[in-house]
């Protein structure tokens, strides 16, 4: 039997990043992926003959440092592509266009306010910047490196100066709604700017405490919050990671569904020694590194009998209900949105912050939203290979769609939600229905099943203050190590969280390599 230094569960982007780093440092690495291809939530697959789409559709802040380390450019991916504008769609064709620090379509007061807003938000975001590619200190640690990381935050805060520091602490805990109302007039602008603080979370503009922090956090990433779709899109990222990993000597196996993590028991305690696949095959390794979400990893793959009861309870209580559904449309031609030349940005449909709030209210109580809000992208504009020549793919993140629908997700309930979503798009792109040749709607429950992510959650587990930084996913497992010696985490459930960033995979590899 082959013996490996490390087995990585899951070939999502984090699993691949971790694998590539380990292999580049001389480790023998096997990646076991249950699906037929690599990429996880970033994997593209055919949803209609000739049309492909992935769950994640834009790459907003994949780390340049990781891309450089792993030489992803030579495998076809360059994160330094031009950012795409974010466009808040208006019914009358009066759109708001946000292009970096440029703002079009809003009144002069808003334009001036936007300049000030960007400046202070970026200043604040810088405080959080040192976190992305760092392992978080342990609570109560007296370790020098740990304290230094904390010190770094303190120092950054101090450098803001007294007034700005107070302002940072005030702003970081505001509901998105208050921040926007304080700064802007235009309703579409407010809704569009708050979007990145809410996307993927169980939060709406009025939710307290986390939304602005989440927004700042995204702004603090290497791309400063700008969204881009590199040439080749998400596909290019995944295939370059796969290429880099394989070139470094990583062995990748698909259709390899890990049923459990093997734990050896002795008088010395426990240690993870390998995995058993669904077909009964066992593979051994010195370490097992899981990019599956924390609940799956601990409850299903390890088994609670190997964990302390309090720890297990914290894992069980992780909030993992996803609220984002996916709509994929196969289109016979490029859709036209009223008042837009080219739909080549991120298009947000959220007429005002109440619209977001009300959609959330429906979902919060287990109902499908009567008027969903959404983000639309046309991946085929960036990666022509996902659709036949001249035809297009529309990809939408639809919020808020509950994981647990009252009465359950029947086919009829899913179809109804899908049609409702298309109806709303049709208000902005009136000819869209004539152009549709195929469609797919994935509820969080579908994503959970098809992509093996508990709750179909964007970040594997909610990204909120109590599940962030050194609390992510929970103490006892927040430094990529786990209570079981030899078992590590490297997925979105770990710091710095979800999105196609690579941080978790990178940081886990650093911890393992020491």
């Amino acid at each position: 039997m082959d013996r490996y230094d490390a087995i990585i569960i899951g070939a999502g982007h984090n699993g691949l990043v971790c694998a590539a780093y380990l292999a580049k440092n001389g480790q023998r690495v096997l990646v076991l992926e249950a699906a037929a291809t690599a990429g996880g939530l970033g994997a593209s697959r055919e949803f209609h003959p000739g049309f492909r789409a992935s769950i994640a559709h834009s790459v907003s802040h994949f780390s340049q440092a990781i891309a450089d380390d792993l030489q992803l450019a030579s495998f076809g991916f360059d994160p330094a592509s031009d950012p795409i504008p974010t466009i808040g769609l208006g019914l009358d064709g009066n759109h708001i266009v946000i292009d970096g620090t440029k703002l079009l379509g809003a009144g002069s007061d808003d334009v001036a306010a936007y300049g000030r807003y960007c400046k202070s938000m970026h200043r604040f975001a810088d405080v959080l910047k040192p976190f992305w590619l760092k392992t978080m200190p342990r609570i109560g640690s007296a370790n020098f490196a740990d304290l230094a990381a904390f010190g770094n935050i303190g120092l950054k805060l101090r450098r803001l100066g007294r007034k700005d520091m107070q302002e940072f602490l005030r702003v970081a805990s505001l509901p998105a709604r208050d921040l926007m109302d304080e700064n802007f007039e235009n309703e579409i602008l407010k809704a569009t700017l708050s979007w990145d603080g809410l996307l993927g979370a169980k939060m709406a503009p009025r939710s307290p405490n986390s939304a602005v922090l989440a927004l700042l956090y995204r702004l603090s990433g290497e791309a400063r919050g700008a969204h881009a779709i590199a040439a080749g899109g998400v596909n290019a990222l995944i295939s370059s990671l796969r290429g880099a990993a394989e070139a470094a000597g990583v062995r990748l196996r698909y259709n390899a569904d890990v049923a459990r993590i093997l734990i050896s028991e002795s008088g010395d305690g426990l240690s993870a020694t390998g995995v058993e696949l669904r077909n009964g095959e066992r593979v051994e390794a010195d370490r097992v590194i899981s990019s599956a979400d924390p609940k799956t990893t601990f409850v299903n793959l390890v088994g609670v009998q190997y964990l302390d009861i309090g720890f297990t309870n914290r894992i069980r209580r992780l909030r993992c209900d996803g609220y984002v559904a996916k709509l994929h449309l196969a289109l016979s031609e490029l859709p036209l949105f009223d008042g837009l030349q080219q739909p080549d940005g991120r298009l947000i449909i959220a007429p005002d912050m109440d619209a977001i709030e009300f959609a959330f209210d429906d979902a919060k109580y287990g109902e499908s939203p009567k008027n969903p809000v959404m983000e639309i992208v046309l991946p085929s504009l960036h990666d022509p290979s996902v659709a036949p020549d001249g035809q297009h793919v529309l990809s939408a993140h639809v919020m808020y769609v509950p994981l647990k629908l009252q009465g359950g997700w029947t086919d009829a309930a899913r179809d109804q939600m899908c049609e409702r979503t298309i109806d709303i798009i049709a208000r902005y792109a009136p000819r869209i229905r004539e152009q549709i040749t195929g469609q797919e709607f994935l509820t969080p429950a579908d994503i959970e099943r098809q992509y093996r992510v508990t709750g179909g959650h964007w970040h594997h587990t909610e990204f909120a203050v109590d599940q962030m930084l050194m609390m992510r996913p929970t103490y006892g497992a927040a430094q990529y190590q786990t209570p079981v010696p030899g078992l590590f985490l490297c997925g979105a459930g770990s710091h710095p969280g979800g999105d196609l960033v690579g941080g978790a995979g990178h940081n886990a590899a650093q911890v393992i390599l020491g």
Partner: protein
């Protein structure tokens, strides 16, 4: 007027033995335990204590919490929860156990009865439904049921307890060793007898369906008339258990889940219960923390003290010298022990001071005046009261 009792929910529950106990509780000395009306004493605490030590007594343990844990994963679930190795408990045996938080702080102690390969009963002093629910999460085949109200239980303790069971005609009790469980026929039903108890002496606990409880009581008291049987309450129990050096919640230990202040709870090592922690077991909840605690040594150690004089040392501080300049611990329980004829106490003492002298400052009152006295303590390794009959099989038939 509506005859329904509007305060029904706040009234104390009555144990199935209550009708008899009410008659016998001539002092009306009731308090409460887990929502049950419960006797502090019936006639006189000292008298009841002497019965337990010289003849026998019955103590109502209906309010004690009882849980049935069954299913193919029951053993694994309990084994991860408690520090002892549950695999080693054979069918029809009982084991004293403790369970801890992840940090190794003691949540509670109790007994596990193995009734079948896949069926256990756990008993403990305080409700632990929530912890059991957390402990069972993730196991596919385990059901936990609170059977406290479905099983009546009476503790029969003292030197003549075996003789009473014999007189009742309960065959088989002669061969029951300490911690054995017997299931005996009783009026077309069954009576479970375990050779267990909380007095450190010969004794049994009797487990029966509530509707047969009074029948059991009556037969026990009919048979026990010649053997000095007498009900005893909480006060006498507390005396007997202290002589046996058994720990009590809210005296020797503070249940971890109800402890607010940092480390005002205890570890099993602090309570001298290291022997219950089986590190040969590859995993149990709190193992990592306890291993560290063992390596470091417990900060405090529960210590058995024989104290000069006859003034009980309740609530006293312990010092390392006669001048009382260095405080090293505190007394958790104390009494003048009639059976041992000694002034005994349990005390939590900082482990590092156990090598040296121990002095206790005792306060006492005489006709409204407070006095204090500093006396020397001697550490005892064994429980104060350990009669051979408690372990003999068959036990003596007085």
């Amino acid at each position: 007027m509506n005859s329904a009792d509007p305060y029904a929910g706040e009234r104390l529950k009555l144990s199935p033995f209550h009708p008899r106990q009410r008659e016998l509780n001539i002092r009306d000395a009731w308090s409460a335990w887990n929502g049950y009306k419960f006797a502090d004493y019936y006639y006189d605490a000292e008298y009841e204590y002497f019965c337990v030590r010289n003849t026998c007594g019955t103590y109502d343990i209906c309010p004690m919490q009882k849980y049935e844990i069954r299913g193919n994963d029951a053993e694994a679930m309990l084994n991860r929860m408690v520090t002892r190795d549950v695999k080693k408990i054979k069918v029809n045996r009982v084991a004293y156990c403790v369970w801890c938080t992840d940090e190794g702080r003691m949540i509670d102690d109790g007994t596990i009865f193995r009734l079948a390969n896949d069926r256990f009963m756990l008993t403990c002093g305080s409700p632990c439904n929530a912890w059991l629910e957390k402990s069972a999460f993730g196991f596919d085949e385990v059901q936990v049921a609170d059977i406290t109200d479905r099983l009546a239980a009476l503790s029969l303790q003292g030197p003549t307890s075996f003789a009473v069971l014999q007189a009742m005609g309960l065959a088989g009790t002669e061969s029951a060793k300490p911690f054995d469980i017997l299931t005996l026929p009783f009026h077309d039903d069954t009576l479970m007898v375990s050779r267990t108890g909380f007095t450190g002496d010969l004794g049994y606990e009797l487990w029966i369906k509530p509707d047969l409880a009074l029948r059991l009581w009556d037969e026990l008291y009919a048979a026990g008339g010649d053997y000095g049987i007498q009900p005893y309450g909480e006060a006498a129990t507390n005396m007997a258990r202290l002589e046996a050096a058994f720990i009590m919640p809210a005296m020797e230990f503070n249940e971890a889940l109800r402890t607010v202040n940092f480390e005002h709870d205890q570890t099993p090592f602090e309570l001298n219960l290291g022997w219950l922690v089986d590190f040969k077991k590859p995993h149990f909840s709190g193992r990592r923390a306890l291993l560290e605690e063992k390596r470091r040594g417990p900060k405090y150690t529960l210590t058995k003290l024989d104290i000069e004089g006859n003034k009980p040392a309740d609530g006293s501080y312990i010092y390392s010298n006669r001048r009382c300049t260095q405080e090293v611990g505190y007394v958790t329980s104390a009494m003048w022990s009639p059976a041992v004829k000694a002034n005994i106490a349990l005390a939590m003492i900082e482990t590092k001071y156990l090598q040296g002298e121990l002095w206790v400052e005792i306060y006492y009152e005489k006709e409204l005046r407070q006095y204090s006295r500093v006396v020397k303590c001697t550490q005892k390794q064994k429980p104060f009261w350990t009669p051979a009959r408690a372990r003999a099989t068959p036990p003596p038939n007085y």
